[in-house]
Protein backbone atom coordinates (compact mmCIF):
# COMPACT_ATOMS: atom_id res chain seq x y z
CA UNK A 1 0.00 0.00 0.00
CA UNK A 2 1.42 3.41 -0.85
CA UNK A 3 0.38 6.87 0.10
CA UNK A 4 -0.31 8.28 -3.34
CA UNK A 5 -2.38 11.27 -4.33
CA UNK A 6 -5.67 9.47 -3.80
CA UNK A 7 -5.16 9.21 -0.07
CA UNK A 8 -4.07 12.76 0.66
CA UNK A 9 -6.43 14.11 3.27
CA UNK A 10 -8.16 17.46 3.39
CA UNK A 11 -5.51 19.32 5.34
CA UNK A 12 -2.89 18.39 2.85
CA UNK A 13 -4.70 19.39 -0.33
CA UNK A 14 -4.23 23.11 -0.37
CA UNK A 15 -1.01 24.25 -1.90
CA UNK A 16 1.38 21.51 -0.87
CA UNK A 17 3.15 19.45 -3.45
CA UNK A 18 1.86 15.99 -2.78
CA UNK A 19 4.33 14.13 -4.96
CA UNK A 20 6.71 12.11 -2.84
CA UNK A 21 9.25 14.30 -1.06
CA UNK A 22 10.96 11.64 1.01
CA UNK A 23 11.52 8.24 -0.52
CA UNK A 24 12.93 5.23 1.27
CA UNK A 25 13.55 2.18 -0.90
CA UNK A 26 14.60 -1.34 0.12
CA UNK A 27 16.37 -0.18 3.24
CA UNK A 28 18.25 -2.91 5.10
CA UNK A 29 20.16 -2.64 8.32
CA UNK A 30 21.75 -5.35 10.42
CA UNK A 31 23.50 -4.77 13.71
CA UNK A 32 26.40 -7.04 14.51
CA UNK A 33 26.54 -7.60 18.24
CA UNK A 34 28.78 -9.89 20.27
CA UNK A 35 25.83 -12.25 20.75
CA UNK A 36 24.97 -12.40 17.06
CA UNK A 37 23.32 -10.54 14.21
CA UNK A 38 20.17 -8.52 14.63
CA UNK A 39 18.28 -7.67 11.46
CA UNK A 40 16.65 -4.38 12.45
CA UNK A 41 15.38 -3.15 9.09
CA UNK A 42 14.38 -5.72 6.50
CA UNK A 43 13.52 -3.90 3.31
CA UNK A 44 11.73 -0.70 4.24
CA UNK A 45 9.79 1.12 1.52
CA UNK A 46 8.25 4.46 2.33
CA UNK A 47 7.16 7.65 0.60
CA UNK A 48 6.26 10.86 2.36
CA UNK A 49 4.71 13.92 0.69
CA UNK A 50 5.93 17.45 1.22
CA UNK A 51 4.13 19.22 4.05
CA UNK A 52 2.89 15.98 5.55
CA UNK A 53 3.01 14.97 9.18
CA UNK A 54 3.91 11.34 8.89
CA UNK A 55 3.78 9.03 11.88
CA UNK A 56 5.61 5.74 12.21
CA UNK A 57 4.28 3.52 14.97
CA UNK A 58 5.66 0.29 16.33
CA UNK A 59 6.32 -1.57 19.54
CA UNK A 60 9.72 -1.53 21.23
CA UNK A 61 12.36 -3.19 19.09
CA UNK A 62 10.42 -2.81 15.85
CA UNK A 63 13.19 -0.66 14.39
CA UNK A 64 11.52 2.77 14.58
CA UNK A 65 14.54 4.59 15.95
CA UNK A 66 16.93 2.96 13.53
CA UNK A 67 14.65 3.86 10.64
CA UNK A 68 14.34 7.53 11.55
CA UNK A 69 18.08 7.73 12.23
CA UNK A 70 18.73 6.38 8.73
CA UNK A 71 16.99 9.47 7.34
CA UNK A 72 19.78 11.79 8.49
CA UNK A 73 22.43 9.08 8.27
CA UNK A 74 23.00 9.01 12.01
CA UNK A 75 22.74 5.30 11.25
CA UNK A 76 24.32 4.02 8.05
CA UNK A 77 22.06 1.49 6.33
CA UNK A 78 23.58 -1.63 4.77
CA UNK A 79 21.72 -1.19 1.51
CA UNK A 80 18.83 0.72 0.02
CA UNK A 81 18.03 4.27 -1.01
CA UNK A 82 17.03 7.30 1.04
CA UNK A 83 16.13 10.33 -1.01
CA UNK A 84 14.98 13.63 0.48
CA UNK A 85 14.02 16.21 -2.10
CA UNK A 86 16.56 15.67 -4.85
CA UNK A 87 19.23 14.51 -2.41
CA UNK A 88 20.44 10.90 -2.36
CA UNK A 89 21.89 10.76 1.11
CA UNK A 90 24.15 7.71 0.85
CA UNK A 91 26.44 9.37 -1.71
CA UNK A 92 27.17 12.41 0.43
CA UNK A 93 30.73 13.11 1.53
CA UNK A 94 31.40 13.97 5.17
CA UNK A 95 31.23 17.70 4.45
CA UNK A 96 28.09 17.40 2.32
CA UNK A 97 26.52 15.26 5.01
CA UNK A 98 27.06 17.99 7.60
CA UNK A 99 25.53 20.58 5.29
CA UNK A 100 22.62 18.23 4.62
CA UNK A 101 22.07 17.60 8.32
CA UNK A 102 21.89 21.34 8.93
CA UNK A 103 18.68 21.24 6.88
CA UNK A 104 17.18 18.28 8.74
CA UNK A 105 15.92 19.17 12.22
CA UNK A 106 15.72 16.49 14.86
CA UNK A 107 14.12 16.35 18.30
CA UNK A 108 14.66 13.67 20.89
CA UNK A 109 12.96 11.87 23.76
CA UNK A 110 15.62 13.10 26.19
CA UNK A 111 15.65 16.62 24.66
CA UNK A 112 19.47 16.61 24.49
CA UNK A 113 19.82 20.33 25.14
CA UNK A 114 23.25 21.69 26.00
CA UNK A 115 23.40 22.39 29.74
CA UNK A 116 26.31 24.77 29.20
CA UNK A 117 24.20 27.08 27.05
CA UNK A 118 21.24 29.29 27.83
CA UNK A 119 17.99 28.83 25.93
CA UNK A 120 19.13 31.58 23.57
CA UNK A 121 22.48 29.92 22.94
CA UNK A 122 20.93 26.48 22.52
CA UNK A 123 18.69 27.79 19.76
CA UNK A 124 21.59 29.79 18.32
CA UNK A 125 23.78 26.70 18.14
CA UNK A 126 22.69 25.37 14.72
CA UNK A 127 22.95 28.90 13.33
CA UNK A 128 26.51 29.24 14.65
CA UNK A 129 27.35 25.93 12.98
CA UNK A 130 25.80 27.14 9.74
CA UNK A 131 28.00 30.24 9.95
CA UNK A 132 25.44 33.01 10.45
CA UNK A 133 26.51 36.43 11.73
CA UNK A 134 25.58 37.50 15.26
CA UNK A 135 22.79 40.01 14.45
CA UNK A 136 21.12 37.52 12.11
CA UNK A 137 21.35 34.82 14.79
CA UNK A 138 19.81 37.13 17.39
CA UNK A 139 16.91 38.03 15.11
CA UNK A 140 16.21 34.43 14.17
CA UNK A 141 16.46 33.08 17.73
CA UNK A 142 14.04 35.68 19.06
CA UNK A 143 11.61 34.98 16.25
CA UNK A 144 11.70 31.22 16.69
CA UNK A 145 11.40 31.41 20.50
CA UNK A 146 8.28 33.51 19.96
CA UNK A 147 6.91 30.72 17.79
CA UNK A 148 7.30 28.15 20.58
CA UNK A 149 6.12 30.69 23.19
CA UNK A 150 9.32 30.73 25.23
CA UNK A 151 10.42 34.34 24.78
CA UNK A 152 10.37 34.86 28.55
CA UNK A 153 12.86 32.02 29.12
CA UNK A 154 15.44 33.31 26.67
CA UNK A 155 18.19 33.72 29.30
CA UNK A 156 17.34 30.66 31.37
CA UNK A 157 19.45 27.53 31.44
CA UNK A 158 17.91 24.15 30.51
CA UNK A 159 18.38 23.17 34.16
CA UNK A 160 15.68 25.68 35.08
CA UNK A 161 13.04 24.41 32.66
CA UNK A 162 10.29 21.79 32.88
CA UNK A 163 10.18 18.84 30.49
CA UNK A 164 7.67 20.48 28.19
CA UNK A 165 9.64 23.70 28.09
CA UNK A 166 12.82 21.76 27.34
CA UNK A 167 11.17 20.02 24.43
CA UNK A 168 9.94 23.36 23.11
CA UNK A 169 13.54 24.61 23.20
CA UNK A 170 14.46 21.39 21.40
CA UNK A 171 11.88 22.17 18.72
CA UNK A 172 13.08 25.77 18.44
CA UNK A 173 16.66 24.55 18.09
CA UNK A 174 15.62 22.05 15.42
CA UNK A 175 13.72 24.74 13.49
CA UNK A 176 16.23 27.56 13.80
CA UNK A 177 17.99 26.90 10.52
CA UNK A 178 14.77 26.56 8.49
CA UNK A 179 14.99 22.82 7.92
CA UNK A 180 13.26 20.98 5.08
CA UNK A 181 12.25 18.13 7.35
CA UNK A 182 11.76 17.69 11.09
CA UNK A 183 12.48 14.26 12.54
CA UNK A 184 10.90 13.50 15.89
CA UNK A 185 12.45 10.55 17.73
CA UNK A 186 9.89 9.71 20.43
CA UNK A 187 9.82 13.40 21.30
CA UNK A 188 6.74 13.17 23.51
CA UNK A 189 7.43 9.82 25.16
CA UNK A 190 9.00 11.37 28.27
CA UNK A 191 6.24 13.95 28.72
CA UNK A 192 2.95 13.83 30.59
CA UNK A 193 -0.28 13.75 28.52
CA UNK A 194 -1.02 17.45 28.89
CA UNK A 195 2.51 18.48 27.90
CA UNK A 196 2.40 15.96 25.06
CA UNK A 197 -0.69 17.73 23.70
CA UNK A 198 0.95 21.15 23.89
CA UNK A 199 4.09 19.89 22.12
CA UNK A 200 1.98 18.23 19.42
CA UNK A 201 0.01 21.46 19.03
CA UNK A 202 3.26 23.29 18.37
CA UNK A 203 4.31 20.70 15.80
CA UNK A 204 0.93 21.01 14.03
CA UNK A 205 1.17 24.77 14.21
CA UNK A 206 4.60 24.95 12.59
CA UNK A 207 3.55 22.39 10.02
CA UNK A 208 0.63 24.65 9.06
CA UNK A 209 2.58 27.91 9.20
CA UNK A 210 5.80 26.78 7.55
CA UNK A 211 4.62 23.82 5.49
CA UNK A 212 7.34 21.80 7.18
CA UNK A 213 7.40 18.06 6.57
CA UNK A 214 7.47 16.19 9.87
CA UNK A 215 8.27 12.54 10.45
CA UNK A 216 7.60 11.32 13.93
CA UNK A 217 8.02 7.94 15.52
CA UNK A 218 6.08 6.90 18.57
CA UNK A 219 4.56 3.93 20.33
CA UNK A 220 1.38 5.83 21.15
CA UNK A 221 -1.47 5.73 18.66
CA UNK A 222 -2.98 8.83 20.28
CA UNK A 223 0.01 10.88 19.22
CA UNK A 224 -0.49 9.78 15.63
CA UNK A 225 -4.27 10.28 15.72
CA UNK A 226 -3.83 13.77 17.10
CA UNK A 227 -0.99 15.04 14.95
CA UNK A 228 -0.47 12.99 11.79
CA UNK A 229 -2.06 12.84 8.35
CA UNK A 230 -0.43 9.61 7.29
CA UNK A 231 1.06 6.73 9.16
CA UNK A 232 3.05 3.56 8.74
CA UNK A 233 3.02 0.57 11.04
CA UNK A 234 6.41 -0.99 11.66
CA UNK A 235 6.67 -4.55 12.84
CA UNK A 236 9.92 -6.43 13.20
CA UNK A 237 11.79 -4.31 10.70
CA UNK A 238 9.07 -4.39 8.06
CA UNK A 239 6.38 -1.86 7.26
CA UNK A 240 3.23 -3.92 7.42
CA UNK A 241 0.72 -1.17 6.75
CA UNK A 242 0.63 2.40 5.58
CA UNK A 243 -2.04 4.92 4.68
CA UNK A 244 -4.11 7.82 5.91
CA UNK A 245 -4.39 7.74 9.69
CA UNK A 246 -8.16 7.45 9.64
CA UNK A 247 -8.08 4.52 7.21
CA UNK A 248 -5.60 2.60 9.29
CA UNK A 249 -7.42 3.39 12.51
CA UNK A 250 -10.86 2.33 11.27
CA UNK A 251 -9.71 -0.54 9.10
CA UNK A 252 -6.48 -1.93 10.49
CA UNK A 253 -5.25 -4.76 8.31
CA UNK A 254 -2.13 -5.98 10.05
CA UNK A 255 -2.02 -7.73 13.41
CA UNK A 256 0.17 -4.98 14.90
CA UNK A 257 -2.18 -2.23 13.74
CA UNK A 258 -5.16 -4.14 15.11
CA UNK A 259 -3.38 -4.53 18.42
CA UNK A 260 -2.55 -0.83 18.57
CA UNK A 261 -6.16 0.06 17.84
CA UNK A 262 -7.37 -2.41 20.43
CA UNK A 263 -5.08 -0.96 23.09
CA UNK A 264 -5.94 2.55 22.02
CA UNK A 265 -9.70 1.99 21.98
CA UNK A 266 -9.43 1.45 25.68
CA UNK A 267 -10.09 -2.24 25.75
CA UNK A 268 -10.72 -2.21 29.47
CA UNK A 269 -13.59 0.24 29.06
CA UNK A 270 -14.99 -1.82 26.20
CA UNK A 271 -15.00 -4.83 28.43
CA UNK A 272 -16.89 -2.93 31.16
CA UNK A 273 -19.40 -1.83 28.54
CA UNK A 274 -19.84 -5.42 27.44
CA UNK A 275 -20.28 -6.53 31.03
CA UNK A 276 -22.80 -3.79 31.68
CA UNK A 277 -20.77 -2.01 34.34
CA UNK A 278 -20.40 1.33 32.64
CA UNK A 279 -22.81 3.93 31.28
Amino acid sequence: MSIGRSQVDVRNEKGFDSSSFITVKDLYKTFHTPVGQVDVLKGINLTVSKGDIFGIIGFSGAGKSTLIRCLNRMEVADSGVVRIGEQQIFNLSKKELNLYRQKIGMIFQQFNLFDSRTVFNNVAYPLEIAGYKKPAIKRRVEEILGLVELSDKINSYPGQLSGGQKQRVGIARALANNPDVLLSDEATSALDPKTTLSVLDILKDINRKLGLTIILITHELDVIKYACNHMAVLENGVIVETGAVRDVFFNPASETAKLFVKINANFAVNQWVREGEAI
Partner: protein, 236 residues
Protein backbone atom coordinates in the same frame (compact mmCIF):
# COMPACT_ATOMS: atom_id res chain seq x y z
CA UNK B 1 67.21 23.25 65.19
CA UNK B 2 65.67 19.84 65.77
CA UNK B 3 63.85 17.83 68.40
CA UNK B 4 67.06 16.31 69.72
CA UNK B 5 68.52 19.60 70.89
CA UNK B 6 65.39 21.69 71.46
CA UNK B 7 61.89 21.41 72.80
CA UNK B 8 58.95 20.81 70.46
CA UNK B 9 57.63 24.33 70.99
CA UNK B 10 61.03 25.89 70.35
CA UNK B 11 61.18 24.02 67.02
CA UNK B 12 57.68 25.17 66.05
CA UNK B 13 58.49 28.73 67.06
CA UNK B 14 61.67 28.66 65.02
CA UNK B 15 59.79 27.25 62.03
CA UNK B 16 57.95 30.56 61.81
CA UNK B 17 61.01 32.68 62.56
CA UNK B 18 62.72 35.01 60.11
CA UNK B 19 65.87 32.87 59.78
CA UNK B 20 63.91 29.94 58.45
CA UNK B 21 61.78 32.09 56.18
CA UNK B 22 64.87 33.65 54.62
CA UNK B 23 65.54 30.13 53.26
CA UNK B 24 61.90 29.19 52.61
CA UNK B 25 60.78 32.29 50.70
CA UNK B 26 63.03 31.87 47.64
CA UNK B 27 62.11 28.15 47.64
CA UNK B 28 58.41 29.10 47.53
CA UNK B 29 59.11 31.31 44.55
CA UNK B 30 60.91 28.45 42.78
CA UNK B 31 58.15 25.96 43.55
CA UNK B 32 55.40 28.31 42.40
CA UNK B 33 57.38 29.13 39.27
CA UNK B 34 57.83 25.45 38.38
CA UNK B 35 54.26 24.59 39.25
CA UNK B 36 52.70 27.41 37.23
CA UNK B 37 54.85 26.73 34.17
CA UNK B 38 54.11 23.00 34.34
CA UNK B 39 50.40 23.76 34.91
CA UNK B 40 50.21 25.76 31.69
CA UNK B 41 51.98 23.07 29.63
CA UNK B 42 50.00 20.28 31.25
CA UNK B 43 46.70 22.07 30.68
CA UNK B 44 47.31 22.67 27.00
CA UNK B 45 49.11 19.43 26.10
CA UNK B 46 47.02 17.23 28.40
CA UNK B 47 43.77 18.65 27.06
CA UNK B 48 44.86 18.09 23.48
CA UNK B 49 46.20 14.60 24.19
CA UNK B 50 43.11 13.60 26.17
CA UNK B 51 40.78 14.78 23.43
CA UNK B 52 42.88 13.06 20.76
CA UNK B 53 42.66 9.83 22.76
CA UNK B 54 38.91 10.17 23.07
CA UNK B 55 38.14 11.26 19.52
CA UNK B 56 40.28 8.58 17.86
CA UNK B 57 38.98 5.75 20.03
CA UNK B 58 36.97 3.05 18.31
CA UNK B 59 33.68 4.49 19.55
CA UNK B 60 34.90 8.11 19.16
CA UNK B 61 33.74 10.61 16.56
CA UNK B 62 36.83 10.10 14.37
CA UNK B 63 38.02 6.53 14.93
CA UNK B 64 41.68 5.81 14.16
CA UNK B 65 42.15 2.52 16.03
CA UNK B 66 45.84 1.93 15.28
CA UNK B 67 46.89 5.51 16.04
CA UNK B 68 44.81 5.43 19.20
CA UNK B 69 46.41 2.19 20.37
CA UNK B 70 49.93 3.53 19.82
CA UNK B 71 49.25 6.82 21.62
CA UNK B 72 47.42 4.95 24.37
CA UNK B 73 50.38 2.62 24.84
CA UNK B 74 52.83 5.55 25.04
CA UNK B 75 50.62 7.23 27.64
CA UNK B 76 50.43 4.02 29.65
CA UNK B 77 54.19 3.50 29.55
CA UNK B 78 54.82 7.06 30.73
CA UNK B 79 52.23 6.65 33.45
CA UNK B 80 53.71 3.39 34.69
CA UNK B 81 57.16 4.93 35.20
CA UNK B 82 57.65 6.48 38.63
CA UNK B 83 58.16 10.25 38.44
CA UNK B 84 61.61 9.85 39.91
CA UNK B 85 62.73 7.67 37.00
CA UNK B 86 61.15 10.06 34.50
CA UNK B 87 63.09 12.94 36.01
CA UNK B 88 66.37 11.06 35.58
CA UNK B 89 65.42 9.98 32.05
CA UNK B 90 64.57 13.50 30.90
CA UNK B 91 67.69 15.17 32.31
CA UNK B 92 69.68 14.69 29.06
CA UNK B 93 66.76 16.24 27.19
CA UNK B 94 66.90 19.37 29.36
CA UNK B 95 70.64 19.56 28.86
CA UNK B 96 70.12 19.38 25.11
CA UNK B 97 67.39 22.00 24.92
CA UNK B 98 68.26 24.56 27.60
CA UNK B 99 71.89 23.70 28.14
CA UNK B 100 71.77 22.64 31.77
CA UNK B 101 70.25 19.85 33.80
CA UNK B 102 69.71 21.68 37.09
CA UNK B 103 67.57 24.59 38.30
CA UNK B 104 63.81 25.15 38.14
CA UNK B 105 63.72 25.56 34.33
CA UNK B 106 65.44 22.27 33.66
CA UNK B 107 62.96 20.15 35.54
CA UNK B 108 59.98 21.44 33.56
CA UNK B 109 60.55 18.69 30.97
CA UNK B 110 60.41 16.00 33.58
CA UNK B 111 57.35 17.50 35.21
CA UNK B 112 55.50 17.91 31.92
CA UNK B 113 56.38 14.42 30.69
CA UNK B 114 55.17 12.89 33.92
CA UNK B 115 52.02 15.02 34.36
CA UNK B 116 50.64 15.35 30.81
CA UNK B 117 49.78 11.65 30.41
CA UNK B 118 48.03 11.63 33.77
CA UNK B 119 45.98 14.75 33.00
CA UNK B 120 45.22 13.37 29.51
CA UNK B 121 43.57 10.31 31.08
CA UNK B 122 41.62 12.53 33.47
CA UNK B 123 40.45 14.68 30.54
CA UNK B 124 39.41 11.55 28.70
CA UNK B 125 37.32 10.45 31.68
CA UNK B 126 35.73 13.86 32.20
CA UNK B 127 34.65 14.24 28.59
CA UNK B 128 33.39 10.67 28.50
CA UNK B 129 30.83 11.75 31.10
CA UNK B 130 29.10 14.01 28.55
CA UNK B 131 25.84 12.17 27.73
CA UNK B 132 25.92 10.43 24.33
CA UNK B 133 22.58 12.02 23.41
CA UNK B 134 24.04 15.52 23.40
CA UNK B 135 26.83 14.46 21.09
CA UNK B 136 24.24 12.77 18.88
CA UNK B 137 22.15 15.93 18.81
CA UNK B 138 25.17 18.02 17.85
CA UNK B 139 26.09 15.58 15.09
CA UNK B 140 22.49 15.49 13.86
CA UNK B 141 22.70 19.27 13.46
CA UNK B 142 25.69 18.84 11.16
CA UNK B 143 28.46 19.80 13.58
CA UNK B 144 31.97 19.15 12.23
CA UNK B 145 34.24 17.34 14.69
CA UNK B 146 36.40 20.32 15.60
CA UNK B 147 33.38 22.45 16.44
CA UNK B 148 31.93 19.51 18.37
CA UNK B 149 35.00 19.55 20.60
CA UNK B 150 35.10 23.33 21.07
CA UNK B 151 31.39 24.08 21.31
CA UNK B 152 29.98 20.96 22.95
CA UNK B 153 32.45 18.53 24.54
CA UNK B 154 34.63 21.00 26.45
CA UNK B 155 31.83 23.36 27.64
CA UNK B 156 29.58 20.46 28.67
CA UNK B 157 32.40 18.74 30.57
CA UNK B 158 33.79 21.97 32.06
CA UNK B 159 32.92 21.44 35.77
CA UNK B 160 34.38 17.95 35.63
CA UNK B 161 37.41 19.15 33.66
CA UNK B 162 38.12 21.74 36.34
CA UNK B 163 37.99 19.08 39.04
CA UNK B 164 40.35 16.93 36.99
CA UNK B 165 42.75 19.82 36.52
CA UNK B 166 42.70 20.46 40.26
CA UNK B 167 43.82 16.88 40.86
CA UNK B 168 46.50 17.32 38.21
CA UNK B 169 47.81 20.54 39.76
CA UNK B 170 48.13 18.90 43.16
CA UNK B 171 50.00 16.03 41.56
CA UNK B 172 52.24 18.58 39.82
CA UNK B 173 53.06 20.18 43.17
CA UNK B 174 54.01 16.83 44.65
CA UNK B 175 56.18 15.91 41.64
CA UNK B 176 57.74 19.37 41.84
CA UNK B 177 58.78 18.67 45.41
CA UNK B 178 60.30 15.40 44.27
CA UNK B 179 62.16 17.10 41.44
CA UNK B 180 63.70 19.32 44.10
CA UNK B 181 65.96 16.52 45.21
CA UNK B 182 67.32 16.20 41.66
CA UNK B 183 68.67 19.74 41.53
CA UNK B 184 65.51 21.59 40.63
CA UNK B 185 65.36 23.67 43.81
CA UNK B 186 62.12 24.69 45.50
CA UNK B 187 60.43 23.50 48.67
CA UNK B 188 61.19 19.83 48.11
CA UNK B 189 64.86 20.63 47.75
CA UNK B 190 64.87 22.70 50.95
CA UNK B 191 63.01 19.98 52.85
CA UNK B 192 65.52 17.34 51.79
CA UNK B 193 68.71 19.38 52.11
CA UNK B 194 67.92 21.03 55.42
CA UNK B 195 65.19 18.96 56.99
CA UNK B 196 66.50 15.49 56.09
CA UNK B 197 70.26 15.82 55.56
CA UNK B 198 70.96 18.39 58.24
CA UNK B 199 68.27 17.58 60.80
CA UNK B 200 66.78 21.08 60.65
CA UNK B 201 63.31 20.08 61.68
CA UNK B 202 62.09 23.67 61.86
CA UNK B 203 62.81 24.19 58.18
CA UNK B 204 61.16 20.89 57.34
CA UNK B 205 58.05 21.94 59.26
CA UNK B 206 57.96 25.31 57.53
CA UNK B 207 58.25 23.64 54.11
CA UNK B 208 55.47 21.21 54.96
CA UNK B 209 53.20 24.00 56.24
CA UNK B 210 53.69 25.99 53.03
CA UNK B 211 53.03 22.94 50.85
CA UNK B 212 49.85 22.11 52.78
CA UNK B 213 48.62 25.67 52.41
CA UNK B 214 49.35 25.72 48.67
CA UNK B 215 47.56 22.41 48.10
CA UNK B 216 44.56 23.48 50.19
CA UNK B 217 44.37 26.72 48.25
CA UNK B 218 44.48 24.92 44.91
CA UNK B 219 41.80 22.47 46.02
CA UNK B 220 39.60 25.30 47.30
CA UNK B 221 39.91 27.32 44.10
CA UNK B 222 39.20 24.26 41.92
CA UNK B 223 36.18 23.18 43.97
CA UNK B 224 34.72 26.68 44.11
CA UNK B 225 35.10 27.25 40.38
CA UNK B 226 33.55 23.90 39.50
CA UNK B 227 30.68 24.43 41.94
CA UNK B 228 30.10 27.96 40.66
CA UNK B 229 29.63 26.70 37.11
CA UNK B 230 27.33 23.88 38.18
CA UNK B 231 25.21 26.34 40.16
CA UNK B 232 25.15 28.85 37.32
CA UNK B 233 23.79 26.14 35.02
CA UNK B 234 21.20 25.07 37.63
CA UNK B 235 22.44 21.50 37.60
CA UNK B 236 21.98 21.10 41.36
Amino acid sequence: MNLMNSSFFAVIKSAFGSEVWAIITPAIVDTVYMTVLTMVFTLVLGLILGIVLLVTAEEGVHPLPLFNKVIGAVVNVLRSLPSMILIILTLPLSRMVIGKAYGPGACIFALVVSCVPMFARLVENSIMEVPKGKIEAAKAMGTPNFQLIIKVLIPEALPSLIRSFTIAVIAIISVTALAGSFGAGGLGDVAVRFGYSRFKTDILIAAVVVLVIIVQLVQFIGDSLSKYIIKKRFLI
